[in-house]
Symmetry: C2
Subunit: 245 residues, 2 copies
DNA sequence: GCTTCCGATATGTCTATACATAAAGGCGCG
DNA sequence: CGCGCCTTTATGTATAGACATATCGGAAGC
């Protein structure tokens, strides 16, 4: 089972059905053959076809109903998804040299302004970091991060002057939920100084909060100098694989 | 097979394994029992377990290798995903009254500035629309859209004074690929006038290009007045289902 | 002691079969 | 003529068995 046919049977069936749907050959609402018919066409058992159909269903490409049969799904109303890259990766993807610098590191008690923390827990300590990421020596992104010591005790012993906290956290602390918020903001005094731009310049701000089993771990605000940076993503209606460029 | 156990067997196995991974009980790298052992534990056949494992693999929660066995995957480096809502939906989700107004409608020949179009095709006509979406009477978002007549001939007969073009397109024209770009921009003269804000105010700009089988269909730029709008998404590392709020 | 080969192990794929369940459509009875 | 039941169809779930294939680890041979 190889030479040119180096492919599993259900892999082939999946690709062919997917192709007919994504290419538009089968329009939304089109009724497709029954499992039994497809199985006969490929000369395989129904279970094999069933596995494929299950995957297509999970991907949202088809809709199935008992007795009524299977039909191509209407494209979802908001199928848009954007993937946000890791900063170092992002810089190096554009063939630039990545640079990192720690601007500030401070430990403090949590106060009323830390709305991302659970207010029920008391006497929380927070590590506050301000870092600058650069590409080819030019300021690329300002990172303002807060880490809860309750969720990551080890963090107090780490010196973040060489390695960005984001990478350390990813390797060290589990996270079970996260939230992203993207805004356009005017550069603050601090941001304009660090990024070397005029105060009030439009900047893209990405805020990320992370939890571990309900407990807040970290909050980070990434500020990208305006106009020079954009978040981009390509995708297909509901494909089972990520969109290729 | 219901009452409280209203659940399929492989659904239960999936949830339980997923739970142990997402909760952190099984850390990344943790070797999990073989299919045969799990099957024995649940008193089911290996095929049933295999189906579950396949899904967990597709979701990126586990890594499998022949003979070596199955282990919990390292959390992906950039697992961040953002879902962008349809505008009317977005407005109504915040319990505001949605409003729509067509500001301009013009047909013209494509020119060199239309880089989103395929330059090989000649004599292309483009429908250009400018619309304003509002929430509770306040300007919410400015939409500047171009539609290729080659990809959607019917569009010339449609009057977009009542229904937003985005909805019409979703229902009428197939799309097979799309690309999103998010930027922070300073409000242009036109945007500031339409949105009732000062020129130069930071705005969130979402650009979406859509193709149908390689042919450009439409390009749209949505401009949201700065600071008042944000894109938000919640998610879990690599769950098989979307994150619940 | 080092390399090579081989068997044990765990996953990957596929089949044939069985029974459950939902629903469309036809049939019969009132 | 209309209502409800019942058959038929198609999917949903699960099983047991078979064979393929990659690879780890130890045994055999140099």
């Amino acid at each position: 089972m190889n030479a040119e046919g180096d492919e599993t049977l259900h892999g082939r069936i999946l690709r062919e059905l997917e192709g007919r749907i994504l290419s538009g050959e089968w329009q939304p609402g089109h009724r497709l053959p029954s499992e039994t018919e497809i199985a006969a066409a490929y000369g395989c058992s129904r279970m094999t076809v069933n596995k494929v159909m299950t995957q297509l269903t999970r991907a949202g490409l088809i809709v199935r109903q008992r007795r009524a049969g299977t039909s191509v799904a209407q494209p979802g109303p908001q199928p848009a998804i954007l993937e946000i890259q890791d900063i170092q990766r992002e810089v190096e993807a554009s063939k630039s040299v990545y640079g990192y610098r720690l601007l500030n590191r401070a430990m403090r008690e949590a106060n009323a302004g830390d709305t991302w923390l659970d207010p029920s827990e008391e006497r929380l300590e927070v590590l506050e970091l301000i870092c600058l990421h650069s590409a080819d020596g030019q300021p690329f992104c300002l990172e303002e991060r807060q880490i809860s010591l309750a969720a990551a005790a080890d963090v107090s012993a780490v010196d973040f002057s060489v390695r960005p906290p984001g990478q350390w956290l990813l390797d060290t602390v589990r996270w079970s939920a996260a939230e992203h918020t993207i805004r356009a903001v005017a550069a603050s005094a601090q941001a304009s100084r660090a990024l070397g731009i005029a105060k009030g310049t439009p900047c893209l701000s990405v805020e990320r909060k992370t939890w571990n089993v309900g407990r807040p771990v970290t909050k980070v605000v990434l500020t990208y100098p305006g106009q020079t940076h954009a978040l981009t993503a390509r995708f297909t209606p509901a494909s089972t694989k990520p969109a290729e460029s």
